[in-house]
Structure formats: C-alpha cells, structure tokens
Amino acid sequence: MQKIQKVSGIIRTLILFLIALRVVFIFSVPVSVYNQSPALSNKTEVNIEYLVDVQSSWKGYATMLDNEQLNSQLILGLPEQLFILVIYCLLWRLFGFYQQGQVFSAEPINQLRIIAGCILLWPVITIIYPILTTLLLRFSGASDSLPIYVSIGTSEITNLITGLIVYVISWIMLEAQKVNEEQELTI
C-alpha cells in the first residue's frame, strides 16, 4: 500500500505539471486572437498561435473555418484543451484518493466511472460539436458557405475503446471493494 501511495504522489505531481501546461495552452488562445487582430498586430511581436493544435479529426473543419476567416483555434482548440484539462483534473483527484490509501473505497471507484464517462462522451462531442458550430455560425450570419462537417477518425474509436476499458476497470474495482469488505469482516 505504501508503494501505491508513494507512486500516486509522484503521478499527482506530474499531472499537476500537465494541468499547468494545459492552462498555459488555454490562455495562449486569447493571446493568439489578440495577435491575429489586424488593428493590434503591430503592437506585439510575440506569436504563440501554434501552441493550441487542433485535433486530427477536426483538422479538415479547422481548415474550412480558416478559409472563412474564422479563428479555428478559438472555436475548436479551446474545447479540446478544456476536455483534456477536465480529464487531468479528474485523474489528479483519483490519484489523490490513492495517495490517501483509499484504493477500494467508493470515492475512487466513482471517480473512475466519471473518467470513463467523459472519455466515452468525447467521441460524441467530436461528432456533434462541428455540426452545432456550423449551424450556429450560419444562423448568426458569420458564414453562409460553411458545410456541415461530420468526421469519425481513429482517435474517436480509440477514445471509445479506452473509455470502455476504464469503465470495465471501474466494475472490477467495484468487485474488489466487495471482496475487500468481506475480507475486513472475516474474523
């Protein structure tokens, strides 16, 4: 158990570092917009617009948005970064429970389920989000020629499989919790 607690502490520190990195990425999006603004472009030479990279399955849609003179990094990059940030925060909390020695209690198992749910939800969002964005941009009058974009790539399938694996692990942990409870009540 001490080993689990020790390694969990190290993992938490690494996750915290990754969270900090993601926060920098998220804040780089508004900076990027600021840099791209024609009126303000002469005021700064700092250009970090490529810090936020759009995911491969949305790359085609990002190009379409760029062709329409819309900021693809802000529209597509930001939700991606926020999703990754949420997953990191959930993982940070999960390993917090492990660090406290709560391996078989209800909280980490619930946390694992939430993580699985988020990973499973992301492919759905990946499909729905560009459609909603297109409709919103069309209705708002920002673009007339932007097509409805649907893309299912390998990353979505990978996310689905990963989410299912994490979900099954949470079931296994639930069974382990029952075994642990029985073990504690064996005299």
Binding site: E181, E182, L185, T186, I187
Partner: protein, 73 residues
C-alpha cells in the same frame, strides 16, 4: 441471516468477559464484537478452533442455524 452467533450465551455460561476471550483467542475485542453482533461475513477455522478451545465447547454451541422463515415470524 440464517446463521446465528450465540457467543454471548456461551460467554455467560463460562462467566467470561469479551475482552478476556479476545485476549485468549488472539484477536481484537472489536473483531470479536463484530462476530458477537452477527455482522461478520465469515469465520476462520483457526479463530473458531481458538474460541472453542478457550470456551471448552463445540462449534455447534456457538453457531446455530435458524431458518429465514423463523426470522420473519
């Protein structure tokens, strides 16, 4: 549950305290209390052996089967 623990009856017969039995058996009074109150999920043979040895009785004197129908009545 169908299995009833009658440890308190046996303790009263032997005029023994729970703490003394726990010490003699080599388990904590808390664990023995769990067993006595019927919250235990399982009993190890080694624990049962030690309890029977200390109380000079057989497992049947401590563990009783009571049908669930009787519980409902």
């Amino acid at each position: 549950m169908a299995i009833v623990i009658e440890l308190d009856v046996m303790l009263a017969k032997r005029k023994m305290k729970l703490n003394d039995l726990a010490e003699a058996v080599g388990i904590t009074p808390q664990n023995l209390s769990v067993l006595k109150s019927g919250r235990a999920k399982a009993v190890r043979f080694s624990t049962l052996d030690a309890i029977c040895k200390t109380l000079e009785c057989s497992p049947g004197d401590i563990l009783l089967y009571q049908s669930d129908d009787k519980d409902k009545q």
